[in-house]
């Protein structure tokens, strides 16, 4: 079943991704769903081309769960939180 309205999600940027985009967060409207994590990343890249610098060493967090960029299908809902997660360096 397709939804009539496509969801709007909040994208959070941290660390180097925040520096590259100059943003801490932004809204992403009309995101197709379900969507693969790879396609979601492509969508983000189209919006923020400088994120390309993170390519191949970044993951997403969708609703605070890590998701590798690849074929995993994501069902997004209005208001979902999607984070761009550069390599961790806590500790």
């Amino acid at each position: 079943m397709e939804k009539l309205s496509l969801p709007q999600v909040t994208v959070l940027y941290f660390a180097r991704s925040a520096e590259l985009t100059g943003l801490r967060e932004e809204e992403l409207v009309a995101v197709p769903t379900p969507i693969s994590s790879g396609d979601l990343w492509a969508l983000l890249l189209r919006k923020q081309p400088r994120l390309e610098a993170l390519q191949s060493r970044v993951v997403l967090a969708v609703r605070r769960q890590y998701v590798a960029i690849g074929n995993q299908q994501l069902s997004l809902q209005d208001g979902d939180e999607v984070a761009v997660v550069p390599p961790l360096s806590g500790g």
């Binding site: 959070l12 941290f14 660390a15 180097r16 060493r57 970044v58 993951v59 967090a61 605070r64 890590y66 590798a68 984070a83 997660v85 550069p86 390599p87 961790l88 360096s89 806590g90 500790g91």
Partner: protein, 175 residues
């Protein structure tokens, strides 16, 4: 100081004369007190407290000809909470005897020589606690969404990458 995260594990309180095991997580913009972290995990049941303190490691950076003046930390705070709960659950699954787990982590500006993380685990017997704390540090570095940037006297800075993080370039720093 933000007392962000306080959760009780296991979720259902046990009855009886002893307190339930509890995990205390805190993200702090102030100096970390080792004594406070140790006190958080102490109880009359515990025979051993194992502690790990992570501090700025500067000698290699001196050798590269620039001096680290400090570290800037940031976190995905809401997710730190859920990942630390997951971390504590993983420790308890592997070492069921653990009593208390406490982790305080710095955020914001951290001067060279100050601790960025202090963690303590109490256990009736030391072997469990000592193994668990090693694993805890590895899990924290691999999975808790916290980032640090080294800031140099040249006004340059560099985001660090933990080699334990599966999507980092092992040990590489991005300039």
């Amino acid at each position: 100081m933000e007392r962000l995260h306080l959760s009780v594990w296991p979720p259902a309180l046990q009855t009886g004369q002893y307190q339930p095991e509890s995990d205390i997580f805190r993200l702090s913009r102030d100096w970390l007190s080792v004594q406070e972290v140790v006190d958080s995990v102490s109880s009359s049941r515990c025979g051993a407290v194992s502690v790990f303190i992570g501090t700025t490691f500067t000698i290699l950076l001196f050798l590269r000809g620039r001096k680290v003046i400090g570290l800037q930390y940031e976190a995905y705070e809401a997710m730190v909470q859920s990942e630390l709960s997951r971390l504590a659950a993983a420790l308890r699954a592997r070492w069921p005897s653990l009593l208390h787990v406490c982790i305080h982590h710095r955020l914001g500006w951290v001067k060279v020589g100050e601790a960025s993380v202090v963690m303590a685990i109490s256990s009736p017997h030391r072997q469990d606690g000592q193994e668990a704390i090693q694993h805890a540090v590895t899990l924290l570095k691999a999975s808790v969404p916290i980032w640090k940037k080294e800031v140099y006297d040249t006004q340059e800075s560099s985001w660090k990458e933990n080699s334990e993080c599966s999507w980092s370039q092992r040990g590489g720093a991005s300039d």
